[in-house]
Amino acid sequence: MIKMLSGNEAVARGMWEAGVQVASAYPGTPSTEILENFALFPNVYAEWASNEKVAVDVAIGAAYAGHRGMAIMKHVGLNVAADSFMYASMTGMEGGLVIVTADDPGMHSSQNEQDNRVFAKFGRVPCLEPSDSQVAKDMVSTAFELSERFDTPVLLRLTTRICHSTSAVELGEKAVSNFEQKPFPRNPGKYVMVPGNAIKRHPIIEQRILDIARFSETFPYNHVEPGDQALGIITCGVAYQYAKEIFPGASILRLGMTWPLPERLIREFAESVKRLVIIEELDPFLEEGVRLMGIEVEGKSIFPINGEFDPGIVREAAIKSGLLPESAHIPPLELVPNSLPGRPPVLCSGCPHRPTFFILNKLKVPVNGDIGCYTLAMTPPLSAIHTCGCMGAGIGVAHGAAKARSPEHHVAVIGDSTFFHSGIPALVNVVYNQSPVTTIILDNRITGMTGHQQNPGTGRTLLGQETVQVELELLVRSLGVRNVQTVAGYDVKAIEKALKTFVKLGEPSVLIVVEPCVLLPDVRKRWIPLEVLEDKCNGCTFCFRIGCPAILKSEQLDQATQRPKALIDPTGCTGCEVCAQICPREAIPFRHALVEINES
């Protein structure tokens, strides 16, 4: 049966066909839909872990127990999980272990575009890279076979364009599960990585990667497509598709395993062509490997090191370097000025994070942010995020700034899921080393940015089961924070009052702001658009300062001030009442008043 599948859906299908028993992940674009789709198959176990390191440990535990374990994350998640990734390489496992990294060339939704093939080399672990959905599905089984054959974790590297592109996939059958329950290993020499054992394991993994390199010479996904011998291209991943598109006649060596490299295959290919070029996104990873073999090759001298490729980018770079004639150039149409109004992502209308940032802006304090929707509060008019580096960073940064005797009162802002991910150890540090940092936990009862995943605070698991809810206030108090308050997200006055108190304190404080994400299905049912009473509004513009995309400028001008009055877009407004609370002229009635107005 043939079905159109995205790369993520294809990997999920491949996991099911490969009989994966335990899959653990932390959500992160572009990888999130893999686990969400896998969880839809019958009789599988899939879970959202509290972070990527935990996810990898969970998958390792399953593999130690003799089963097929899988951990899935976006590229920067592997930074968090690096410690576990490295010891798994040292110990090997009883069952198969595959770790998916979804890299993000072009940074569609990430803070960097690191190339995680480097991790494979670093960890002496093979790296597989599919070029479309079919291969993405098939490679999952291949990765497990490789893992089990060589007693190694396998890194399955995807990129955004593989994850989020759809192409036809011939579905396979579920592998007959021949994984018997084995006794958990008692083999400390292999599984207890104290120095005395680890030192014996090191030569084993060095030999293992050499053995895999030999195996890669005949690995079926390392494949030569013979063509014109004037130009030979080595490529991998989605870049293979661009190579085929732009150089239809060239000889191509597609590497499905990008670490370790098949030296003999590459050497033979290089000798068969006049000019050897490597087309790969991001780092010159293959290029450096090939050059270390003493083979003359071009790569990043032609194609960009930064950003995502597309056929146009590959084509124009090829023209510039003389690989294609000038006549291949396609001039873009210059009919429209580049100054069209942009559409940067903004906090949604009705976003429960908005009031907190409105107050933070008012207090003029430095705010150290984190990874989540709330980072969008950096843009005007809220302008209330001043640093943001990675998951869990904000609290530590605020503490460091405070310890550097920054004269201002430092604030850290972090979401509920991010707090569970890596905020807790940073808050423990604030308490232990006592700094006057105010940590604000924005608890919107879901993992928002990645599209509504459950987390340890929501009381539900990925598989839909009810579970224990971690209670933030109890947790924070138990860490030893004495100044803790929980307020409702839309209560502008309560947030202001609490923060005004906390920013004067000389010790740690935590404000927990609770309000469900306005896009959650149950919350959507309560949406009621508000309206502006035209006779009361005098165009003071105060409501524009909350940066709500549903508050527009009316064409009606106020007679006295000649300023435009406010107008609420009824299709965008959710009735969160934040504008109603801050309007100095009571020109925006609250929901209950609105019902009365409409009834009278």
Binding site: H108, D132, L340
Partner: protein, 208 residues
Amino acid sequence: MKTQVNFLLAGVGGQGTILASDVLVNVGLAAGFHAKQAEVHGMSQRGGSVTSHVRWGKEIFSPLIGLGEVDVLLAFEKLEALRSVKWMRPGAMALINMQAILPLAVISGEQTYPTDDSLRQVFSQLTSNVAYINGEKIAGELGNVKVTNVVLVGALSALLENGILDAGEIPPEAWLKVITGRVPPKHVELNRMAFISGREAVTGNKNQ
């Protein structure tokens, strides 16, 4: 069909471009083409630009289309139509939904939204093969503006019969089969009506 067709779908988050491109790629597959689709959307908030590439052909490699190689533009919103112009081939087909969704910079008065005249002027320089449609109004008359995307797909299906597809190559029923397989049972009839209304809106309605 000519050997290859590159579609660019451009809209704003929440307009249903993803469903429309899902329909398009599956219609391509059902019609026997090699088809690929790439969603180019970033963070999941509403209000951002959303574009999707769909390609049909005998053998398609790249899921992305290069700059200047779009054959058919389906724009869900006027500003996004203008933003897409640089991706188009001269003479490409364009179907533009005459809806305006104002970005924050326009709402705040920092920037101005392009006029309908400037939009029509740009597209008249680019191609003679352009159709304008008020999909939101048509969907509203059917009782639900959410089916605007299916109205547009219906209109597109009719326009493709003017030169891009061979006569009878993809009959309306083939489109409807894919669409009805993707919507909840209670909305099948609404979506069927939306598709047909979209077709009717552009038949004999070109360049108006």
